[in-house]
Amino acid sequence: MERIIEQLPRFFTLDNMVLLAQSAGLTLAMTAMGCLIGFGLAFVLVYLRQTPGLWALPLRLVCIAYVEIFRRIPFIVVIYLVLFFIQTVTTDASLFTIAVIAICIYAVAYTADIIRGGIESVAQTQVEAATAMNFSRLRTMVTVVLPQAWPVIVPPAIAFAVSFIKDTALVSQIGVFELTFRGKELNNQGFSALLVFGTIAFCYFLMSFPLSMLGQYLEKRLGTPRGQRSARSIRNG
């Protein structure tokens, strides 16, 4: 205990804080890029998965298999697979790129289910009405289904992104200079592990807690479909 107190002034120097802030920024950037790209790709995956017709059966199966398989593989295994696969193709991809690709692959698998849930929550009659008015499938999706599916998709998608801020800690294993890696480095410099990892945990908390609050607020705000909003408040009140 006195070791920690003795180390406090040396640990909380401006330099160390700047380093921590930088690595926290890297963690956030990695998560944001990976999840945004992954989210976009997940839309494509869900759209392809819903392609009608017998000829598209293999396509649908591939989309289903992708989601089912990557949800069942640990993130650390995905990271290693991406790392060594990319090494065989090119040797000058940065570790940051590799981390973002790994996050993307994972985010697609998880958000695809969220998006599918949102799209399926839209009443089938809406789609039928659009078909009756000769809307194409893409146009139905973009102008009819998605605007109504947003409120169902956004809150869990934010919750997923927030939870992924924490999962990116695993990326430290391949040597990306993010928060956890910085923590290990500081620990190796001789600072007390309790102090270092306590601080690192607090940094993660500072990033994750406000965002998860935002997610919960949005869930309350958007969670109930318009038609049911009054019914829900009557039941609770």
């Binding site: 924490k166 999962d167 800690a169 998860s212």
Partner: protein, 225 residues
């Protein structure tokens, strides 16, 4: 891409990988079981407990769910020796995972406790149910019905995401064995693709088992896929 896949070494060491898979399964079951006990107590306190205890549980849940499991395990693994506690790698991972799963399961089970209406408990009391009977015949069936899918899903998360963290502090579970073996002969892609497949098989077996258990014990129609 000029890389020749050589799966021969992987098959030679397949029994080592299977040992790792067995350890993964054990770690997952113990972590989930321990977490479920914490979760049940935590959720019961959050629903029925006095205010100071509720605040305590809230603090625990908020702090654990907003920090990475890896950091929590590092905290135990690197931090505890400083205060004179030396635990084995397995113990650190298990205790870290149990504490972590406990917080998430508190949140999940809380939803189940909320689905039990007060009037139902009162009806039970009127019929002369003891506390144990109330739990057995009113609370547990409700929780099982309403949160079983979430629980089964979370078990897979613990089994896959949770236990694989152990590899980073030297526990020889499935991922750990793959890292050990591939540092010997650099066949990373081969080992990790086989390990990925093993994880898929392992979790499918677990999913099917859980779905059957849910159907048999709680009459829940759980989804496997």
């Amino acid at each position: 891409m000029n890389y020749t896949f050589q799966y021969g070494v992987v098959w030679d060491n397949f029994d080592v990988l299977m040992e790792g898979a067995w350890l993964t399964f054990q770690l997952g079951v113990i972590a989930f079981g321990g977490g479920a006990i914490i979760g049940l107590v935590g959720a019961a306190i959050k629903t029925y407990g006095p205010r100071p205890l509720r605040l305590l549980v809230d603090t625990y849940v908020v702090f654990i769910t907003n920090t990475p499991a890896l950091i929590q395990i590092y905290f135990l693994y690197f931090g505890l020796p400083e205060v004179g506690l030396r635990w084995s790698n397995e113990a650190c991972v298990l205790i870290g995972l149990i504490l972590n799963a406990g917080a998430y399961l508190t949140m999940i089970l809380r939803a189940g406790f909320l689905s039990v209406r007060k009037t139902e408990l009162e009806a039970g009391q009127t019929l002369g149910f003891s506390l144990v009977q109330q739990i057995r015949y009113i609370i547990v069936p409700h929780i099982a019905k309403s949160v079983y899918p979430a629980l089964a899903n979370f078990f897979i998360v613990v089994l896959v995401m949770g236990t694989s963290i152990g590899a980073l502090i030297g526990v020889d579970e499935l991922t750990g064995q793959a890292i050990n073996l591939s540092t010997i002969n650099y066949r990373w892609l081969e080992y990790f693709s086989v390990v990925a497949a093993l994880y898929v098989v392992l979790t499918f077996v677990a999913s099917i088992g859980l779905a059957l258990l849910g159907r048999w014990a709680f009459r829940v129609r759980a989804r496997i896929f």
